[in-house]
Subunit: 306 residues, 4 copies
């Protein structure tokens, strides 16, 4: 099946879909690290040339993926080991972390749609300090040195009538943070990555195709400050599920399905209906609650470590 049918927000999946030789593609470096004791597997995909970015369908930059199969199960310690790995990765990506930074955390997504509410839920559990530091200084926390943390859950266009990027640009201009951390729910390509994978990247957020200098992008280019994006796949596009089933069928059976023909025949019917649909789990509320806690703990840990 061709890459245009593949909709994934994960660079790791985009990379996998290119095939076996991909690790030798010029401009794509892949590094893997297995933390067995934590059941955590970290893959770093570095995209260093424009050609590689085009091949992968992802902008140049660093994409770090934490795979933690236990993440979709309840855990008494709220998966503290995952929070710890996430925290050290984020710390590495924040420029000049050893100096006091003003950090704005954005929780993207729609609070009223469970599968899309990861970002707003993470925001809810952050320790927000900017307003206290501005009024009383870091002495209010008995510290001499502190990062300043602010946050925003801007909602979605259907609620506001405004692009999320318009709101964020305005807030960035008014409050001049040193760095943005943007939290979002992602769409994965396959069900087995759902709720078990965290992607951290220094490339920000690129709506749609993921390439090009889009007006609605949340990137260093568009906002003027570094943008670190943290995403967890919580849904799979409904169309992707159907394509995968047909592809899988084609591979497993003797039938050799002509997928181009198939695509043509579907384009105006089922797939069109599926366009704005997504697949998610029945216990998505419990999962989002737990995942958001693991991420917010990681961020609180990070911001407190100076």
């Amino acid at each position: 099946m061709q890459s245009q049918q593949i909709r994934t927000d994960l660079a790791l999946e985009a990379h996998e879909s290119i095939g076996d030789t991909s690790s030798r593609i010029h401009g794509i470096d892949v590094e893997e690290k297995n933390y067995e004791e934590d059941q955590v597997f970290v893959t770093t995909v570095s995209v260093t040339t424009k050609n590689a970015a085009k091949t992968l369908g992802k902008p140049m930059g660093t994409y770090i993926t934490i795979e933690a199969p236990a993440l979709d199960e309840p855990d008494e310690e709220s998966h503290r080991e995952v929070s710890t790995h996430l925290s050290s990765i984020v710390k590495e990506l924040i420029p000049n972390f050893e100096k006091e930074q003003s950090i704005l955390v954005i929780g993207l997504g729609n609070r009223d749609v469970t599968a899309d509410s990861l970002g707003p839920h993470v925001i809810d559990n952050l320790c927000i300090t900017r307003h206290i530091i501005m009024e009383y200084g870091t002495a209010a926390y008995d510290k001499s040195k502190m990062h300043s943390v602010s946050s925003l859950a801007p909602g979605v266009m259907a609620q506001n009538g405004m692009e999320t990027a318009e709101i964020i640009r305005g807030v960035v201009e008014q409050t001049s943070p040193d760095v943005l951390i943007v939290i979002d729910s992602l769409a994965a390509r396959t069900l087995h990555r759902l709720n078990r994978t965290i992607q951290i990247t220094d490339t920000g957020i690129h709506p749609g195709s993921g390439v090009g200098n889009h007006r609605n992008a949340l990137t260093k280019e568009s906002l003027g400050v570094p943008v670190i994006a943290i995403g967890i796949p919580t849904v799979v596009d409904a169309a992707t599920i159907v394509w995968d089933a047909l592809d899988d069928f084609s591979n497993k059976s003797d039938h050799s399905i002509d997928l181009h023909m198939l695509q043509a025949s579907y384009d105006n019917t089922l797939l069109k209906e599926l366009n704005n649909m997504y697949v998610t789990g029945k216990d998505v509320d419990a999962i989002i609650k737990r995942l958001s806690y693991t991420v917010s703990e990681a961020l609180n840990m990070t911001f407190d470590d100076i």
Copy 2:
């Protein structure tokens, strides 16, 4: 494809899946009425024999379906014409409606999972009168005759650790209502019925297979009082979507897919993963909000009409 693959909560769809001759099956009567001016189409399926119930996979009783294609679009008047049709149907199904009835409305589903939150949202907008009438009489409302309305949103088993039916049985025994009205989100078979169809039935709620005297049923047999169920399909099972795509493909193309073979090959892989997944729309929050308002207005209209 065989009926065991079909998962639908709608009697209308179960009926359609039997095929063309179905309207002549003994024990199944179908009556259709088109209200053109309202763009509302009402189908009444009466299942009057045990055999017919077995064939259809639905218990004996009356199933009334309101199809209103406009229902998934915003409307300034909140689809008052649909509320009006729904109200007269419910009124017909409440026994002894002309006398004062004590009506308990149950909002099934999980308030924290948007696609499953129709029931709790309907409850939120009902005019609740039982406690006022018990303390001050109907004079508190300047009326001589009134229905008494109470409600409960019992939550789901993952939240409570109890079967919903246990909670409801307990509340029914303590408060002795004359009739139950149960609101629930349903699973449809096809995307085009999503959020556009309301099913009203006097058979109550039958979890799982839909047939048999289940301990968790919410029915006149299990609760001792008539149970009217109002449901709107807000999701499609993920597995159903995939089967439909394959079936559709098989019909449209020259390939004659052996679906039995296909089912066998899938049973241990994708379909298993799909088991607890569902498909829903990206604007499910706005849709649930509007639908719940249309239903609660219908019920408020009904209860006030004595």
Copy 3:
């Protein structure tokens, strides 16, 4: 008792507290209108001189108060008569209303504190059109001429770490609306105005003292566009309740309480504890739900009327 003890967001109450002769104060014009059939009483206080503004403790401008005693009671029609009055008042205050305007509605307050959640709840029920019009034009609504409506519920500083005014300034600069409408919960001076009074003003929002060119003000001066503020008192400051009780006691009894002495004795004890406390009703959830619906209906009516 002296005016410094009085905390009220209502110009009407500030005016009343000045005493009988106030209507003859230069620079304060008061006009009253009784709509008996609607049980609605409208008072317009115009503050036209700087001296008058100082005396009243409110900036120069027009303050219109709708008093509707029935507003805190349930109503089948959601107090449509009040929505209608509110709508015509707002329409008068929007400059160039006959031409297409881009209107940004801000819902101030904390969604998680019931008594402070009026603004966010009003936003939830607005018909938002800006993004549709920008993408498809007014043709999407079968109209040739339309106001464009966007909205934002910015949250509160304790959640964001940012001043609400910072967020709003940024969004105004990015999206360039023609006019702002700001919805907020207010503090009243007396219990009997709670939830029964709507104040509409063209002076915007002035945090704290209400006078002076405050950095956090939401006004034409600070934002560059006209700001219409709509507020409903949903709380009374706890300290105000106590002062009123003592004052009332002093008036009713033979004891002539030396309130200056009293104030001094309290300053370091109870009143300090009361500082961040407020008084509200036990059914505040139902009241906020109804009030927000009455206001959002008024705004939807207004915006649709071109």
Copy 4:
């Protein structure tokens, strides 16, 4: 001031209001313990005779109060030291704790009114196991012995039209728990106890006067199983605040206020208006969130310890 003016849900405050000699009243035993390192002060009031119960206005039984002044401040560890004290107290009160118990936790209060939402919020964070154990046994948790935990947030009468006690009685009869734990927001007498005090009692919940065999009580007598109540004061009655101010004034000033006269003069005016009002803090959302987490952690700790 006479006891009828005092409205407190805390036995400790009721005890204090009797005066200095109270600790020697027959039938009231008071034991105090100071855990300095934890900044936790525990008072146990045992009421052992009917006369003592009448004097105190609280039923016979044990009332344990944890006072932890730091509880209303944020804490990185979520006040784990308080959770630990609470957990050991609850463990002591559950009969036959060493054997497997079926425990039903009830979260009283209105989820939509922030100051009243402690109970529902505690429920949200509990680890619920009853349904899993009933279907798969304790083996599902790799344990041989486990308490079974279920929960319910029944809502309030204004939402349901039913007494909370009706709902709970029904659920208890259907699911036969061994013990009930009921969580509720309380009204304190003084502001300084707000959000800093936890009362645990084995007497259950007695609405209204607190004495007498009330139909709406949640007690061993009314439900047939032991009822442990855990409450935290999150509000002060508005009338109490006013009385306290007047009382305080009377004590501090030379004026000797005749409070009986005062009460008579107020009865038909301000105090009546204040009847359904309460006083709470402006940051009540953050406080309830933290308190509920401290309590749910204590319960999860307790239930897991077998």
